[in-house]
Amino acid sequence: MIGCRDATKQLTSMGVADARAGLAAGQFTSVDLTQAFLQRIERVDGSLHAFLRTTPTTALAAAAEADRARADGDNRPLLGVPLAIKDVLMTKGIETTAGSRILEGFVPPYSATAVEKLEAAGAILLGKTNTDEFAMGSSTENSGYGPTRNPWDLERVPGGSSGGSAAAVAADEAPAALGTDTGGSVRQPAALCGVVGLKPSYGRVSRYGLIAYGSSLDQIGPITKTVADAALLLEVMAGADQRDSTTMPVDVPNFSAALNRDIAGLRVGIPHEYFVEGIQAEVEESVRSAIEQLADLGAEIVPIHLPNTELALPVYYLVVTAEASANLARFDGIRYGLSVDGETIFDHFRQTRGAGFGPEVKRRIMLGTYALSAGFYDAYYLKAQQVRTLIKQDFDSAFAEVDVIVSPTSPTTAFRIGEKVDDPLAMILTDIFTTSANLAGLCGISIPCGFDAGGLPIGLQLLGPSLGEEKILQAAYAYEQSTEWRLRRPEL
């Protein structure tokens, strides 16, 4: 009987594919499923704070509608499947804050294209997940509404900036969730929470309705329990969009069909520069074992070089803060959000922005403004864009020789809440393996590949060239199916 805790637990342990199959077979209804996830959130989110808000009334109404549609023969791919959405994505009629006090109470008049496509495929929105303010951070501690906790250890961060989405999926509060990845913000929290996180190639998924942070780097991606679920959600979300001129005008492959391809002969590159000092020993051991596992499955392991690796983080921080300083100019207290009165219009801007933005957002706006300001533009911003070219060329050369590149996702497992808050540079260094993919427009996925001695999950990163999602999904799926990491769940 639904309502009994065991039955609820069984329903909430499901990912997207399981939920879809159960719904199609009539084993349970979308109302049962949605109710189970809402109850689970009710029970565990007080200690996690993965959600900023839930939408039970509209979710249950949409679920009932999905059940009626199914009875009438509707068979859309996500019909009746609940999902959670990171709060930097606009959801029509549902408050959207980007984790910032400056947008408190903002109710968007339209939804992001990615959200619209998921809903058009039948998905049910459970609520909005916590994030570092404007997606600026690697721990979700920069949220204006308090941090999210890691389901594997409540004293630790879930990673970030999509920490709410990753924690929600790991804690069985949602079958899957959307995140966004500007420098690793889907992959790193997925790694730290022991779930799957896919960053599509730049241009694969429309950014329309994504509250912009770094426009040349931002991508929306799924956070899921399995590789197959990531492939399925990408299939639904991907594609050219007239409302985002930076989407690639290419057909969307059937990503799910790529999963079962044999990886014998697949060329897997191991970048020498990614296995240097500073990596937690257990992370390196797990990643090395995963590489051996890929070799056992028939992949050809190829040592490669990415000589400009050390420059990726400094380039990333100059490019992303410059873009952020321009993007966040729109928060002026006139069209939406917080408004603090001032004597003059400029005083009004200063007071509103000074009161509404948190410390990390101010720091990044200042850094970007500095890098773009007269006298420093050539030395910082232009220079960073030139070095970005060299980083991209490294990957172009590497992908001429290999199909995918494998590395750790994060140099360490989840760190303690508060551990790096006062040291912005230490926090930045957690993104060391992830930012290059955004600078070069690559696709990447993080999948579970082990646990450290403290029982914290470790993530394996697979990178592919622009529009190379099929190969990374294929390799990730082969590895996932040959291991049992995905079966271990946190106790809550």
């Binding site: 040349s216 921080y317 408004s339 922005r353 933005f357 070219t389």
Partner: protein, 99 residues
């Protein structure tokens, strides 16, 4: 590298951010530290390297010229702190001297 309080104040003014004295001091140290780290890029010879502002193989992307539904004026100002008959109301931008 450490920025002076005046340099931080200048950047804050460009970014239209009201900062307290404590914030000015804190950012002077932190921005200096991050900029020192970022200066690594300056050691690279890029004399023959073009910049990459974005990675797309696209330029001059055009949309079909078709009429589409869009937000009404009322919807567009619905979130505005101060709106009047479909307009955003703001403090006067120019002073009496026209400056």
């Amino acid at each position: 590298m450490k920025l002076t309080r005046d340099e931080v104040r200048h950047v804050a003014e460009l970014a239209k951010l009201q900062l307290s004295d404590a914030e000015l001091d804190e950012y002077a140290g932190q921005l200096g530290q991050i900029l020192t780290y970022a200066q690594q890029v300056q050691s690279v010879d890029t004399s023959a390297v073009p910049p990459t502002p974005h990675i797309l193989p696209l330029s001059n992307v055009l949309a079909d010229d078709m009429s589409q539904t869009c937000l009404s004026a009322a919807q567009a100002v619905d979130n505005a702190p101060d709106a009047d008959e479909g307009y955003f109301r703001v403090i006067a931008v120019f002073d009496d001297n026209g400056a």
